[in-house]
């Protein structure tokens, strides 16, 4: 197989679009800050998804029109959201009972590092500064399926899909699927299994950019992202 230079692959919108395809109708979903928040825009028509946010709201709607923001109606990213029929409010302990008790079907988070054993590091580089963890450790410990959206490598080109995380863990053995600019990877049996590859990306380039054990699915598909890449 020829090794052509790797393109950039999927852009942020395309990664969010691809993750959105894996959210089934009727799912209870918690979206992290950043690219994961964009996922809600790409859920296929006809699927009704109920969004949960750590700060005590279930079933909320998209951001309001400019000028309609309510500072007491926000998500965990502290961004304004909206009410829709079926919304409910509850306190923080009940909100995390939903998380820790396994009632949320899917959460989608960013990552600094993901390991082939499912370990996730996404809260600290361990290098000082002011540490902050938020609800990430609760989400990965409690939600049924943890999806990760991340660039395949750091800005410096270092792999983020590793054999073992070197940064402090957010949770051990918690990640089930990773969406990167290069494709879609299941985390299973101690390795990354590449299920889909971004258009224009070479498998060898993915291998070169992946430090952890990588298996290429015999049934490898190309990501069909309609979002301009």
């Amino acid at each position: 197989m020829s090794s052509k230079p790797a393109g950039k692959g999927l852009n942020r919108e395309a990664m969010a679009w691809r993750a959105a395809q894996d959210i089934p109708d009727g799912a209870y979903v918690n979206l992290g800050i950043g690219i994961p928040e964009m996922v809600a825009r790409f859920v296929p028509a006809g699927r009704e998804v109920i969004y949960h946010s750590e700060n005590g709201i279930l079933g909320f709607g998209p951001p309001p029109e400019p000028g309609q923001e309510d500072p007491e109606l926000i998500n965990a990213g502290k961004k304004p959201i909206t009410l829709q029929p079926g919304t409910s409010f509850f306190h923080h302990a009940d909100s995390f009972a939903m998380i820790r008790g396994g009632h949320i079907d899917i959460c989608i988070l960013g990552a600094m590092q993901v390991a082939a054993n499912g370990d996730l590091a996404n809260w600290s580089t361990g290098e000082g500064g002011v540490p902050a963890v938020g609800g990430a450790m609760d989400l990965v410990a409690g939600v049924k399926q943890v999806f990760i959206i991340t660039e395949h490598t750091t800005r410096q080109g270092e792999p983020k899909l590793l054999t073992r995380c070197t940064y402090p863990l957010t949770g051990a053995g918690v990640v089930s699927r990773v969406f990167t600019n290069y494709g879609v990877f299941d985390v299973a049996d101690g390795r990354f299994v590449m299920r889909e590859i971004a258009s224009g990306i070479d498998v060898e380039a993915v291998r070169a950019a992946t430090e952890g054990p990588l298996e290429i699915s015999a049934d490898l598909k190309v990501v069909e992202a309609p979002v301009p890449a």
Binding site: D25, G26, Y28, E48, I50, H52, L58, G59, L83, Q84, P85, G86, T87, S88, F89, F90, A93, D94, F96, A97, M98, I99, R100, G101, G102, H103, I104, A141, G142
Partner: protein, 236 residues
């Protein structure tokens, strides 16, 4: 479109398996989902473990389920009442198991089960026979007992109103164990007096958010257990 409504109590209780742990809401008759319990009798599941505060009255509802021989074990705080005949008779005959749990510990174990807390310490029952065989540990100079979470395969619950998402509100003291049982069961089945449109329940006043509810069935005129008992009704 999400719609948790089902068309009958029979459909609501379908799939409950032999050996299931079934949480049943209610404090005495208040909040007891009597129509769902009767549907469960008709459905036929056996060897059930029932979690309820009590153990039934007369020969209807929970008492009828027990009387029909479907219940292997009851986990409750108070299995006696002035009209309870069925459970005491089976218990004295050694034909049903009882796990007696202080009422607050029962509530907290259920809440823990719903909240992903496997175990917690409580001062309740320390130094009493109900702490025997349990780990006791000191915090700040006081003795506490380690108690484990309770979860259900199924919860049968009565509520006042539901929408298609399963958001629930209750009626007065019929609320009691229902909200925490909705949290603690894998399959939460709710009978409601009123089914309303999405958005009709004030989001500030939702007691049980729909995430904790799986099936909703409309039972507009639920029977009142004490009336059935007074009339000497037996189910089936």
């Amino acid at each position: 479109m999400i719609d948790k409504k089902v068309q009958s109590v029979a459909e609501a209780v379908s799939g409950i398996r032999d050996g299931a742990t079934v949480m049943i809401s209610g404090f005495g008759e208040a909040g007891s989902p009597i129509e769902l319990i009767h549907a469960l009798i008709d459905q036929g599941a056996r060897e059930l473990v029932v979690v309820n505060n009590n153990a039934g009255n007369g020969y209807v509802g929970l008492a009828a389920l027990i009387g029909a021989g479907r219940v292997r074990k009851v986990i409750c705080s108070y299995p006696r009442s002035s009209h309870s005949e069925v459970f005491p008779e089976l218990y004295r005959a050694g034909r049903i198991e009882l796990e007696l749990v202080p009422q607050g510990t029962l509530a907290e174990r259920i809440r823990a089960g719903g909240a992903g807390i496997p175990a917690f310490y409580t001062p309740t029952s320390a130094g009493t026979p109900l702490a025997e065989g349990k780990e006791v540990r000191e915090f700040n100079g006081r003795q506490y007992v380690l108690e484990q979470a309770l979860t259900g395969d199924v919860a049968l619950v009565k509520a006042e109103r539901a929408d298609r998402f399963g958001n629930l509100v209750y009626n007065k003291t019929a609320r009691n164990f229902a909200p925490i049982m909705c949290m603690a069961a894998k399959n939460t089945i709710v009978q409601v007096r009123h089914v309303v449109e999405a958005g009709d329940i004030d989001p500030e006043a939702v007691v049980t958010p729909g995430i904790f509810v799986d099936r909703v069935v409309h039972v507009p005129n639920p029977a009142q257990e004490s009336k059935l008992v007074a009339e000497g009704v037996r189910y089936p």
